[in-house]
């Protein structure tokens, strides 16, 4: 019995309140064997192929596994695949599957099951928002434990794509489970360490330990994930001992949480870059010197320290260092004098007006950061008008095709679906500009396009890395963004728990969490 339940049994105020509302007291769930987590969003789907957010993927991962996985450093490791070979032309991937694995419904995990899943992934009848990351032509069963995937074209990032929850493997037999149909899985059945025992929409998800799990055994009998949208309330739950782990507490409270001996705080490295996209098609901003000036004008380090409370790292390349293909390209140090000189050289007079569009509440401290950025731009003589709108309107506005697009500067974040430079490079590919995609700075440099496309098909990891590095340097020089920071992902958990970690794609790694001794 927890302290709170004990007090509830005795507290006169609480009893009075209970009588007042006419409710009967119920016994709480057993705590010792349960790991309790609070997250901010209610999953829109639990069907792996339909997932679009990492937090949802994080929860699906308790039940569903993938052929490959990543470690805390972002390295690709085998999971349900024991190993693989890649054909010389880079189009055929042959996977040897882990033997003796069964889905939670008892059906075997084999090559047929893998084929069924990948056939479903490419089936246009099924909603798969991130399907473009899987250019699969066909999947063949070689033998019960060997499966061969043929791609439409060489795609070096494929192993990384296979570590994403989108390619999580479901039991084909579970299509008949109540509520499930081929197009939409509600009750997911996978091979993971936990089964999804219960889901109360908007309230909680309960995972139960799967005793016959093929991998490393877990400590907790069950994991309860509570849906608590308000960051301050999540923090309260943790402080009151009513959950063991939360993500994304109010950022301003992070320093206080770090000082609390009852808690541990992880500011985990992530893959989410935050930037101000510059509409390079606007006459005022088409001059590279102006864009570089904007980069020199903003003191990223000061904003990270004072607005983000240290929960970010200033960007030193157009992508996060957690991505394959990253190389440090430099830094635009805060240099208002240089910014003013560059603006003057480009013929921009003091008092020139610019509009900075920003979302509110979409990214951590987005409104506050936009205000700070506007302040720095004012210091170099620009008059910045801030505008905000709700997220759907925002996306519609920034993704309007160039000829009708009215934005000049807009605040945005980008977290690749998996840790490969190819997924970040989309932002700098001219063909990915709206309406073809969401490269909303409309940046176009044929040389960068060539390097990115070459890297996508290059099979040698070293050559790929070097191609991305070359492209990164050019992008950095061209400055289609005001390069801001790579966000850190705050995870706070009780000091009574140990073995909690993080993955560099905004996921907590708590499957093997256990009580601290």
């Amino acid at each position: 019995m927890t302290r709170r339940q004990h007090r509830w049994g005795r507290g006169p105020g609480a009893v009075a309140a209970g009588l007042l509302v006419g409710v009967a007291l119920g016994a709480g769930p057993a705590r010792a064997a349960t790991f309790r987590i609070a997250v901010g969003i209610d999953p829109d789907t639990m069907d792996p192929v339909q997932t679009t957010t990492t937090t949802v993927g994080n929860l699906v991962d308790y039940t569903v596994e993938t052929l490959t996985t990543i470690d805390e450093a972002g390295r690709i490791l085998p999971l349900l695949a024991e190993g693989w070979t890649v054909s010389a032309d880079g189009r055929q991937y042959t996977f040897k599957l882990h033997p003796g694995v069964r889905f939670h419904d008892g059906s075997p995990f084999d090559a047929k099951a893998v084929k069924w899943n990948f056939d479903r992934l490419i089936d246009p009848a099924v909603r798969v928002p991130i399907r473009a990351a899987y250019p699969i032509e066909k999947t063949d069963v070689v033998d019960p434990l060997t499966v061969r995937i043929t791609l439409k074209h060489p795609y070096a990032a494929f192993l990384g794509a296979l570590s994403s929850t989108t390619s999580g493997l479901l039991s084909p037999a579970s299509a008949v489970a109540p509520g499930n149909d081929y197009k939409n899985y509600v009750h997911i059945v996978g091979t993971g360490p936990y089964t999804l025992a219960e889901r109360r929409k908007g309230e909680s998800l309960t995972f139960a330990r799967y005793p016959a799990y093929w991998g490393r055994p877990t400590s907790y009998e069950s994991v309860v994930v509570r849906i608590v949208p308000e960051a301050a309330t999540r923090e309260s739950l943790l402080l009151a001992g009513q959950v063991d782990l939360i993500i994304l507490p109010p950022l301003a409270d992070v320093p206080a949480l770090q000082r609390n001996p009852a808690l541990k705080v992880l500011l985990a490295p992530s893959d989410r870059t935050i930037f101000v996209a510059i509409n390079t098609r606007k006459p005022l901003l088409s001059d590279r010197r102006v864009r570089q000036a904007l980069n020199y004008a903003v003191d990223k380090a000061a904003i990270v320290k004072n607005v983000l409370f240290g929960a970010a790292d200033p960007m030193d390349a157009p992508m996060a260092s957690t991505l394959f293909g990253y190389c440090r390209t430099g830094a635009y140090a805060h240099d208002p004098t240089r910014a003013k000189t560059l603006l003057a050289q480009a013929g921009i007079t003091p008092g020139t007006r610019l509009q900075l569009l920003h979302p509110t509440g979409r990214y951590v401290q987005d409104k506050e950061a936009a205000q700070a950025i506007a302040g720095y731009l004012r210091e170099v003589g620009l008059v910045v008008e801030l505008q905000t709108m709700d997220w759907p309107s925002y996306v519609a506005t920034i993704s309007t095709p160039a000829e009708r697009n009215t934005t000049q500067l807009h605040f945005l974040g980008w977290a690749p679906p998996f840790l490969d430079a190819s997924q970040q490079a989309l932002q700098f590919l001219s063909t990915y500009a709206p309406p073809g995609g969401l490269a909303t700075s409309f940046y176009a440099n044929p040389e960068v396009d060539r390097l990115i496309l070459a890297a996508e098909q290059e099979l040698s990891p070293d050559r790929r890395r070097s191609l991305y590095c070359e492209a990164s340097k050019q992008v950095w020089e061209d400055a289609p963004w005001v390069f801001l920071w790579v966000q850190r992902f705050p995870i706070v958990y009780s000091a009574k728990v140990t073995d909690v970690g993080s993955l560099p794609n905004e996921k907590f790694a708590a499957v093997h969490a256990r009580p601290a001794r």
């Binding site: 007291l25 309330t233 309107s393």
Partner: protein, 309 residues
């Protein structure tokens, strides 16, 4: 009785027309909002091809009259469509959350009514006294306190410091106490102020003087004669507040992670999930209409001078 039945039939018919009107207004309003539901739901990482495919699956590429006609046809069969965000039937989504919202509204309303009437009568019993001024301050605070702030203060005091109650969620029966108090604070204050003025007005009337002259105890004068006759405007306030509590629980639900319809409505608006927004607004409208009807029927019960027909 026949008159009452005819009255009920007329009111129910009017409710159906009202709901049809609401359905059209909501249908048009959500579509006037900027933003592409398919893009929002598919996410920023989705390719344009996938977004286009989703747009077609959601029938967003059809004309507005065709979309509305298809919505009405489904509605006639009791089918509110399928959520664009979760691919699950809207009826299941709404019915899954509705009990939580009604539960919270009923409990908040009960707290607000009980405390509000008691405080209002107490203030009216000794007008312009210390008690009256004190209650005025408390009720004014109740009306003006932001829900977000009050909710967090209650959490800090009762969940973190005293550790008496759950901070959030709906796991245990006791979980409802803090959200209900937070949600009910505004209504409680409003009902208290309404009760005070209504009872004060009645207390100045001749029949109260007569009751006192006959030697009736002050308690009987106050609670039976004065409050009884002051109830009509109070019931109106309680009824209206109940409707407001149903639809106005969004912030409270957010602060306390209470899995009700308000939170779902906000999520759905932000995702431009048209079918769910329409389903929830229609449900709220139906409940509001029903509450108003019940309040009207209650008038006749508390005031025999009121007849229908």
């Amino acid at each position: 009785m026949t008159t009452l039945r005819r009255y009920l039939a007329e009111r129910l018919a009017a409710a159906v027309v009202t709901l049809l009107g609401v359905s059209l207004i909501v249908f048009l309003m959500v579509r006037v909002l900027p933003g592409d539901p398919a893009r929002v739901i598919a996410g920023v990482l989705a390719s344009e091809e996938e977004v286009g495919r989703l747009r077609s699956q959601l029938e967003l590429d059809r004309s507005l009259p065709v979309q509305y006609g298809s919505f009405l046809l489904r509605l006639a069969r009791g089918n509110l469509g399928v959520s664009a965000r979760t691919s699950e039937p809207v009826t299941r989504e709404v019915l899954g959350r509705l009990p939580r919202t009604v539960e919270l509204a009923v409990v908040s309303s009960a707290i607000a009514t009980a405390i509000g009437i008691a405080a209002g009568v107490a203030a009216a019993a000794c007008p312009y006294s210390i008690v009256d001024y004190l209650l005025s301050v408390v009720t004014l605070s109740g009306v003006s306190m932001p829900v977000y702030w009050l909710g967090l203060v209650l959490i800090i005091v009762f969940a973190i410091d005293l550790n008496w109650l759950p901070a959030a969620g709906a796991e245990e029966p006791a979980s409802i106490v803090l959200p209900a108090l937070t949600l009910g604070a505004f209504s409680m204050a409003l009902i208290a102020r309404m009760t005070r003025s209504s009872v004060l007005e009645v207390l100045g009337q001749d029949y109260v003087r007569t009751a006192r002259a006959k030697g009736l105890a002050e308690r009987a004068v106050l609670w039976r004669h004065a409050l009884g006759n002051a109830l009509v405007p109070i019931i109106t306030a309680v009824g209206l507040q109940f409707g407001a509590l149903l639809g106005g629980a969004v912030l409270t639900e957010s602060v306390f992670g209470w899995p009700g319809l308000g939170l779902l409505l906000i999520d759905s608006i932000f995702a431009r999930d048209y079918p769910v927004v329409q389903g929830i607004v229609l449900t709220f409208s139906a409940l509001f209409t029903l509450t108003n009807l019940l309040v009207d029927l209650l008038y006749a019960y508390v005031d025999p001078r009121i007849h229908y027909g």
